[in-house]
C-alpha cells in the first residue's frame, strides 16, 4: 500500500473522530462531562439520512444532521444544567435514547430494523478519492477553528473560565448557565457532523453504525488533555492505528483486537499519570449539589 492510500484511509477513519472530539472538547472545557458523543453521532447520522433521503440533497441532510445533534445536545444541557442531573447518568441515557430513537424511526420511516435505503452523498468523483467531500475538509478544519475559538475569542475565554472556576466567572457577571448551554449545544452539533459524515460516506444509515466511535472520541479528548489540537492529533493517531490494523488483517502480525485497544489503554495510562498526568478542567462534572 502506498503512503497516499494510507493517508486517505486514515483521514476517512479520522473524520468522525475529529468532529466528535471537537464536540467533546468544547463541552468539557465548559465543565460538562461529555459521554454522549456516541449518541449525538448516531442521531446526526440518522437525521442526515432522513433529510437526504426525502430531499435528495446531502446538503439538506447535513443541516438535518446538525439539527438532530442540536436537539440531543439541548436535552443533555437541560438535564444537567437546569435540572442538575448527574452528568454521567445523563450521558449514558442520551446514548441509550439515541439508539432507541434511531431504531424506532428507522422502522417507522423505512420499515427496516437494520438499515435505510441508499442515499446520495458528497464526493461522487472516484478520481478525487474523497477529497471532494466538503465534510472531510470541515472535519479537518474543526480542530483549528475550535482552537481559535477557544483561545482567541472572547467567547472561548469565557468557556475556559466557566469550566475551571464557574464562581469566578459568575462574580464578574458572566452567565455560567448560558455559556454552558451554548457549549453543549455546539458540542451536539459538532459531534453530529461526525455521524453525518459516516452516513453520507456509506450512503446509508445502519443500526448502531457509530459502533463506539463516540467513545474513541472521548478517549481522544482525554488523551489530548482537553486541547482541541492535541485531541485532533490523538484522533489521527487512533485512526492511523486502525488503518494499520486493516492493512495487516490476515497477516497474523498482531490481532486486530489489540490494535483496537490502543486508544483506551493510552487513555487509562494518561489518566493514571504515568507520563504527564491528564488534568481535567477543574469544574468538570460539578453542576450537582
Amino acid at each position: 500500500m502506498n503512503p497516499f492510500d494510507f493517508l486517505t484511509q486514515t483521514l476517512r477513519i479520522a473524520i468522525p473522530y475529529l468532529f466528535a472530539a471537537s464536540g467533546g472538547v468544547i463541552a468539557e472545557r465548559a465543565g460538562i462531562i461529555s459521554l454522549s458523543l456516541e449518541g449525538y453521532m448516531l442521531t446526526g447520522a440518522f437525521s442526515a439520512t432522513l433529510g437526504t433521503f426525502y430531499s435528495g440533497s446531502p446538503w439538506i441532510g447535513l443541516l438535518c444532521g446538525i439539527l438532530g445533534g442540536l436537539v440531543f445536545g439541548l436535552i443533555h444541557a437541560l438535564a444537567t444544567i437546569r435540572y442538575r442531573a448527574d452528568q454521567v447518568v445523563v450521558g449514558i441515557a442520551i446514548n441509550l435514547l439515541a439508539i432507541g430513537v434511531t431504531r424506532f424511526f428507522l422502522q417507522l420511516a423505512f420499515e427496516s430494523s437494520s438499515n435505510s435505503p441508499r442515499i446520495e452523498g458528497f464526493g461522487a468523483s472516484a478520481a478525487a478519492r474523497g477529497f471532494d467531500n466538503p465534510l472531510l475538509w470541515m472535519g479537518l478544519l474543526s480542530a483549528p477553528v475550535l482552537a481559535f475559538f477557544l483561545y482567541k475569542t472572547r467567547y472561548g475565554l469565557r468557556v475556559r473560565a466557566v469550566g475551571e472556576h464557574p464562581d469566578a466567572a459568575a462574580s464578574v457577571g458572566i452567565s455560567v448557565a448560558r455559556i454552558r448551554y451554548l457549549s453543549v449545544a455546539l458540542s451536539g452539533m459538532l459531534a453530529a457532523l461526525g455521524g453525518v459524515f459516516l452516513a453520507l460516506d456509506q450512503h446509508q444509515f445502519t443500526d448502531q453504525m457509530t459502533a463506539g466511535r463516540g467513545f474513541i472520541a472521548v478517549a481522544a479528548v482525554i488523551f489530548g488533555r482537553w486541547d482541541p489540537v492535541r485531541a485532533a492529533l490523538a484522533c489521527l493517531l487512533f485512526a492511523a492505528a486502525e488503518t494499520l490494523q486493516i492493512q495487516l488483517q490476515g497477516t497474523e502480525v498482531i490481532a486486530s483486537q489489540f490494535v483496537s485497544m490502543i486508544p483506551y489503554v493510552l487513555t487509562i495510562i494518561a489518566l493514571a499519570g504515568v507520563v504527564g498526568r491528564a488534568v481535567p478542567p477543574a469544574a468538570l462534572g460539578k453542576t450537582g449539589e
Partner: protein, 354 residues
C-alpha cells in the same frame, strides 16, 4: 418522627413515579405516531409479559442479569463511586465461569461444580473492578473514565480469546461446558417451557438479600455508606477512605461478574461474544430507578426486564424499539427529578423542635 420516615420514602419513591408518568406520556405519543391505540398496546405489553408463563419466564431471565448489574452499580454509588464498567465485568465473569466449566471434568457433581463456576465468575468481575480501584486510590484516576475505557479493553481481550483460540469453528462461542450447568425453571415448572429463566434467579435474590445485609447490617457496609455520604466524617470515624474505595469497586465488579452465570451456566452453557448485550449499562438505570436499595434494584430490574420483553410482545402493533426509547426516557427523567425532589423536600423540612 413518622413524618421523617415518610419524607425518606417520598424522597426515594417520587422520582421513579414521576419518571414513569413522563415515560407513559412519551409512550403514548410514540404509539399514536404509529397510528395505534395506547390502551391496546399497553394491554398487549402486559399480556405478553406478566400474562403468560413463557413471557413471564423471559422477564425473570432478563431481570436476573439486571439485578446483578444493578446491585453492582448500587454498591459503587453507596460508596460515592460510579462504576460504569458492569458491562465488561459481566462479560469477564461469564467468561471465567465458562472457563471453569470447561476445565472441570464432566464427572464433577453440580454441588461442587456450580459453586466453583460462580466463584470464577465473581473473581473475573472482581479483578476487572479492582483495576479502577487501584488506579483511583494510587493515582487518583477518575473511576468513571477508567471503567468506560476498561469496558472496551476487556471486551476486546475476551473477543480476541474467543475469536482466535476458544471458539467452535464458524461461531463466536465456546464449546458447551462440561460441568457447572444450572437448571432452567422449566425443569421444575412445565409452564415455563422454552423460556431461558433458570435458577440463577435464586442466586440473584440471595445476592440482593446479602447486599442488603452487607450495606445495612455489617460494619464494612456501615463504613462504605459513611464514605459515600461524608468522606470527611468517615475519615474522622477511623475509616480508611481509599480502602473503602478499593473494596467497593472490587465488590461491585464481583457482583456484576457473578451475573455472568445467568447466561453461561443457566441458559446457553457456553460463553458467547457479546452476551452481555448492554445489561451492564442498563444496570446503571436499574440502580438509579431502584434508588440504590437492594429491594428497589430487584423491582427496577423487573421493570426494565418487563419493558424489554414487552417491546417484543407489542412488535405486531408498534416497533419493539419503542421500549428502548422509553428506557432512555425513564433514566433521563429519574436523573432529572432526583435533585429536584430532594431540593423540594429539604426546603420544606425544618429541624424538629427540641
Amino acid at each position: 418522627m413518622t413524618s421523617q420516615l415518610r419524607e425518606k420514602f417520598e424522597e426515594a419513591l417520587f422520582p421513579p413515579v414521576v419518571a414513569l408518568l413522563i415515560a407513559l406520556v412519551c409512550g403514548d405519543l410514540l404509539i399514536m405516531s404509529y397510528g395505534q391505540s395506547p390502551a391496546a398496546v399497553y394491554r398487549m405489553l402486559l399480556e405478553g409479559t406478566w400474562g403468560n408463563a413463557y413471557g413471564f419466564g423471559q422477564v425473570l431471565y432478563k431481570a436476573t442479569a439486571l439485578t446483578f448489574t444493578g446491585l453492582a452499580v448500587s454498591i459503587g454509588i453507596r460508596a460515592g463511586l460510579f462504576n460504569v464498567g458492569a458491562e465488561s465485568q459481566l462479560a469477564a465473569g461469564g467468561f471465567l465461569a465458562a472457563m471453569m466449566g470447561l476445565a472441570l471434568s464432566p464427572g464433577v457433581p453440580g454441588v461442587l461444580a456450580v459453586p466453583l463456576c460462580m466463584l470464577a465468575a465473581a473473581a473475573g468481575g472482581g479483578v476487572v473492578g479492582a483495576i479502577p480501584g487501584v488506579l483511583k486510590v494510587k493515582f487518583g484516576a477518575h473511576e468513571v473514565i477508567v471503567t468506560i475505557m476498561l469496558n472496551f479493553v476487556v471486551l476486546a481481550l475476551l473477543n480476541w480469546g474467543i475469536a482466535n483460540h476458544l471458539n467452535v469453528p464458524e461461531t463466536l462461542h465456546t464449546t458447551e461446558i462440561d460441568a457447572g450447568a444450572i437448571p432452567r425453571l422449566e425443569a421444575f415448572i412445565g409452564a415455563f417451557h422454552g423460556s431461558a429463566a433458570n435458577l440463577s434467579l435464586l442466586v440473584a435474590i440471595v445476592t440482593a438479600i446479602l447486599a442488603w445485609f452487607f450495606l445495612f447490617r455489617s460494619r464494612r457496609g456501615f463504613e462504605l455508606r459513611a464514605v459515600g455520604l461524608q468522606p470527611d466524617a468517615a475519615e474522622y470515624g477511623g475509616v480508611s477512605v481509599g480502602g473503602v474505595w478499593f473494596r467497593a469497586l472490587t465488590l461491585s465488579g464481583a457482583i456484576a461478574g457473578l451475573g455472568g452465570i445467568n447466561y453461561v451456566l443457566g441458559y446457553k452453557h457456553y460463553y458467547e461474544e457479546g452476551f452481555a448485550g448492554g445489561a451492564g449499562y442498563l444496570g446503571i438505570a436499574v440502580a438509579l430507578v431502584g434508588r440504590n436499595h437492594p429491594l428497589g434494584v430487584v423491582l427496577a430490574a423487573l421493570f426494565f426486564a418487563t419493558l424489554s420483553q414487552g417491546g417484543l410482545a407489542i412488535h405486531a402493533l408498534v416497533p419493539k424499539q419503542m421500549a428502548e426509547v422509553l428506557q432512555g426516557v425513564v433514566i433521563l427523567a429519574v436523573a432529572m427529578s432526583v435533585p429536584e425532589v430532594r431540593r423540594a423536600l429539604r426546603q420544606s423540612r425544618r429541624p424538629v423542635a427540641a
